[in-house]
Amino acid sequence: MKVNEVPQDITYYEGVKRACFALNDEGKYVVVTSVGWDDEAVVNGLAVDDLAATLEHTRKAVLAGVKSPLCYHMERRQMTPEILAKTAGIAAFRVKRHFRPEIFAKLKLSVLDRYAQALAITKQELMTVPQK
């Protein structure tokens, strides 16, 4: 890749620049900063949309009373039940069990505290999901 071939499409980097290695005119490698690449943005967009769609799906499920808000907040933090289990210090099978709203509603305050701390949110936030 030559220096003038380094993609400079303003995309999702949001002002953050990324270093790329490229050949300059004398055939020497230099670091060139890139502000983004459209084709990369397509790929990243697909992944981000994917996450957003799953999150939206979960949010609706929570409002419909099928899942507990814990599931929503876990996905918002890009965690899996296993990661959340290790982070909160609660066995993974219990975490998965707490995704059922009727069981989540009966949880002790101490357990909720651990979840809230693991997800870095307040307990009030943990009990609810945004309405839209």
Binding site: M1, V6, Y12, E14, V16, K17, R18, A19, C20, F21, A22, L23, K28, Y29, V31, T33, W37, D38, D39, E40, V42, V43, N44, L46, A47, V48, D50, L51, R77, Q78, M79, E82, I83, K86, T87, G89, A118, A120
Partner: protein, 344 residues
């Protein structure tokens, strides 16, 4: 490039780097007065690799690694260049933060392994749960730390709480506050010997691992999977998997084309060091291989955008990887011969 001051007033030059680990290692050496660039560290530490790990999943997608496992490049490069490092992990976060402050007061700069998701200065879109992001702490400031994150253009400020969270977040493969700083560094390292060791090691990593998922074999394995994926998984799901692969090639701080350009830069520097034409040729060949990987990313993006439907197919994308595999196999076979003849 920006100059900052460490705790004892010694100037520290912040270089914008492509990859966190190699750039941090290079910065630690530079701070001690050994001028060694990021690609050199990458080559000496045998960073180049390929591995397709379908059984390890991140965000429900298999991992495709273009570099050797996190931490290994630092260890190998430090050993081969004769740098002695203090390496520590902690059970108790409070103790870890206290010791960090003490070491900073002695005028050292400290490398840390952190979780990328919890670093407060990273924007929402770039966050993901990755437990091996390397940064350098320069000094303590009011309410936090001054941090040189080589993947950012300039040094940044980070709150103490945020750093604590990022260093000690529990979970799988968590960093446990992993921290390293220089004890002593050989001021005149044997660069030539270290380069030869790095090259030989890379050759065996790429060619000799007798498993079908590593090295050039791994590339062929992945290529075949990609070619079959639309029939097996359906178009949408196949696109997701392809996008996942491309993110590993371009997005994970590789300096472009899955570290291949950085590796070419290493050969460019090594050619000057050994004044060898063969290494210069290898550098050009590596650049061409990098261009080939770029073409793969481009093809993949077009498939996902559904442009030129007839022309851009999964078979073409897979074919490009097969081509990369063939070229890289030839490259490393040649490198084996060349490296044997080099004199330290």
């Amino acid at each position: 490039m920006t100059t900052e001051l460490a705790a004892n007033g010694k100037p520290y030059v912040h270089h914008h780097g492509a990859h966190c680990e190699t750039a941090v290692t290079s910065a630690l050496f530079r701070y001690q007065g050994v001028d060694i660039s990021e690609p050199m560290i990458f080559g000496i530490g045998s960073g180049i690799f390929f591995g397709y790990l379908p059984f390890i999943k991140l965000v429900h997608l298999p991992v495709t690694a273009f570099r050797y496992k996190p931490g290994a490049v630092f260890h190998k490069a430090a050993k081969r260049l004769g740098g002695d490092f203090v390496i520590k992990t902690y059970r108790d976060p409070q103790k870890g933060m206290d010791e960090l402050r003490q070491v900073l007061k002695t005028g050292q700069i400290v490398g840390l392994s952190t979780n990328l998701y919890w670093l407060p200065y990273v924007t929402e879109r770039h966050r993901h749960n990755f437990n091996g992001h390397n940064i350098i702490v320069l000094r303590e400031i009011e309410g936090g730390f001054r941090i040189s994150d080589p993947t950012f253009g300039d040094p940044v400020d980070c709150s103490a709480d945020g750093l604590d969270q990022a260093r000690f977040v529990p979970g799988p493969l968590n960093p446990h506050g992993y921290m390293y700083y220089t004890k002593s560094v050989n001021p005149h390292p044997d660069l030539r010997g270290a380069c030869i060791k790095g090259m030989k090691d890379s050759c065996s990593l790429m060619l000799r691992i007798p498993l079908p998922i590593f090295g050039v074999r791994g590339m062929r394995f992945l290529a075949k999977k990609i070619i079959k994926s639309p029939d097996k998984l359906g178009f949408q799901e196949a696109c997701r998997h392809l996008a996942g692969t491309v993110r590993w090639v371009e997005e994970t701080g590789t300096g472009g084309a899955g570290f291949r350009y950085m590796y070419a830069a290493f050969f460019h520097e090594a050619a000057g060091l050994f004044s060898s034409d063969e290494l210069a040729d290898l550098s050009k060949e590596m650049t061409a291989i990098g261009d080939n990987w770029r073409e793969f990313s481009l093809t993949a993006a077009r498939i996902i955008k559904q442009k030129d439907k007839a022309e851009e197919t999964f078979a073409k994308a897979g074919g490009l990887i097969l081509k990369c595999a063939d070229r890289e196999e030839a490259f490393f076979r040649k490198l084996q011969k060349v490296a044997r003849q080099l004199k330290a």
